[in-house]
């Protein structure tokens, strides 16, 4: 059952990712990205990382992508007007390069299947485990991230506010 679900949602993720690039309309691209996020969440769930899966949905699909969609709607961004035709040179060079890259990557990942890789559902990444890791091993990066977010807010205010 698990491998079947894995292949279904992996396929959905890849199709959505391709659709994200191919779509001309920004809303459709954004929705494809939501599809990618959702299927990734399910892949995490299949691995047993339930907290990460829920966080993926809440943070990416539920918060970040909502803002994307919101901004696209607010700007009322329409379809791309004149789609830039890729030049024959780009096609000639790009397609073989892309295939080569995919080939190399798949070879590398095939070769490198590390010892002790996890089976489906073996990893138990509940909220407790994630929380413990965040407050022990990753305490410092976790705390600095809060400063990072503060700077992002500060930057948004500095760049966007009319009168400082």
């Amino acid at each position: 059952m698990d491998p079947i679900l894995f292949f279904i949602f992996a396929a959905v993720a890849v199709i959505c990712a391709i659709s994200l690039i191919v779509q001309k309309h920004p809303i459709k691209s954004a929705l494809s990205l939501i599809g990618v996020m959702g299927s990734l969440a399910i892949l995490y769930l299949l691995l047993g990382a339930e907290f990460i899966a829920a966080a993926q949905l809440i943070v990416y699909a539920g918060a970040i992508m909502v803002l994307f969609v919101f901004v696209i709607m607010l700007l009322n961004a329409g379809e791309e007007k004149s789609p830039a035709r890729p030049s024959w040179f780009a096609k000639l060079l790009g397609i073989p390069l892309m295939i080569a890259l995919l080939g190399i990557l798949s070879y590398v990942i095939q070769r490198a299947a590390p010892e002790g890789s996890l089976a489906f559902g073996e990893y138990t990444g509940g909220a407790r485990e994630v929380g413990r890791a965040l407050f022990t091993t990753y305490l410092l990066p976790f705390e600095i991230t809060s400063v990072l977010i503060l700077i992002a807010i500060l930057g948004a205010v500095v760049l966007a506010k009319k009168e400082l």
């Binding site: 809303i27 929705l31 829920a54 949905l57 809440i58 909502v66 969609v69 919101f70 709607m73 509940g126």
Partner: protein
Amino acid sequence: MNFFLLSLIKVGLVAAVLMTTLAYLQWVERKVIAHIQLRVGPSRVGPHGLLQPLADVIKLITKEDLIPAHVNKFFYLMAPILAVALALTSISVIPFGPQINVFGVETYMQLTDLNIGVLVLLAISGLSVYGIALAGWASNNKYALLGGLRASAQMISYELPLALAIASPLLLHNSLSLREIVNAQDGYYFGFLARWAIFQMPMPQIFAFILFMIGAFAETNRIPFDLPEAENELVAGFHTEYSSMKFAAFFMAEYANMITICALATILFLGGWHPPFPVELGSGYVPSAIFGMAAAIALFHGLNPARPKDRFTLPVFAIAFFGLAIAFAIPVLNSILLPLFWFASKTGFLLFLFIWVRGTLPRFRYDQLMRFAWAWLFPVSVVHLFATGLLVALYSN
């Protein structure tokens, strides 16, 4: 028993009850608002308008299914499906009662218990913005677009205080599973005060409850936060261009969201299915007493009818209530029905609160709505979360 068969039965039961509740919630709302405004409310179809929901459903199904020419068809059709599907999905993690034993089958009164039930509910409520936003965008109508924009801005803004208000009782309960959260609220202080989260030491969550309810009103786009469908500015907001069943889908989604969020409030703050005072003090007799009294009152008014037809309808109600009172008194049924009764009455009270507020409060202005969320509600919930965390940490040492 077979897991799939059992699940199927439970799904069927929950779906039937939920759908009926959805339909009748609308009837209750109209009746209550009518009485607040000194009107009668629906009373033509069936006794006291009780068949009104049925009539509405028939009307909505048989209406012409109109798709305006200028809409983006795919997303226009997807939006209501998304809205209603997400709204109905979230009920699957809500526990209605403890483990019960029906004809020798042990099962929980819950479709599925997840370790991360609370997070699933949050995720679904986060995703449900898309239904409304897409509806507004795909309609290709400026009122709908504005309604959709308002809805998404409002739901993003109020999700933060809502999530923070949820987080602080979780600190007390120390779990994300809804069933364990309810179990953590079992027991009584001094033998009579329930250990519900709103009373629980070291930090009674009464403020979190208030914050949660405010956020809940905004998340479900109810008055006083129903800006997305403010009829005097935006016609009907995001669903301006929708008719028949597609409109009904949004309608159902709104009411299903209301039910879910009230059930969540019950679970997080009001002790789920645990009675407000212990069985030793007689909480087990409360439903029987209430239904018995209701039967007596209905009988009295049936014997002294204000209107001619009351002579027939009220005694029928009296018999029904009396039947319920007896059912609650039977020990075998008692163990199943009592938790359900407490859960339903708490959730029902909160739903009544929604309706009550709708009948009494005016709508916010849009800038007030946003300022309220960011400048008041959000800081207060952050401070509350910190205070809870501090007290829990001190108390546990």
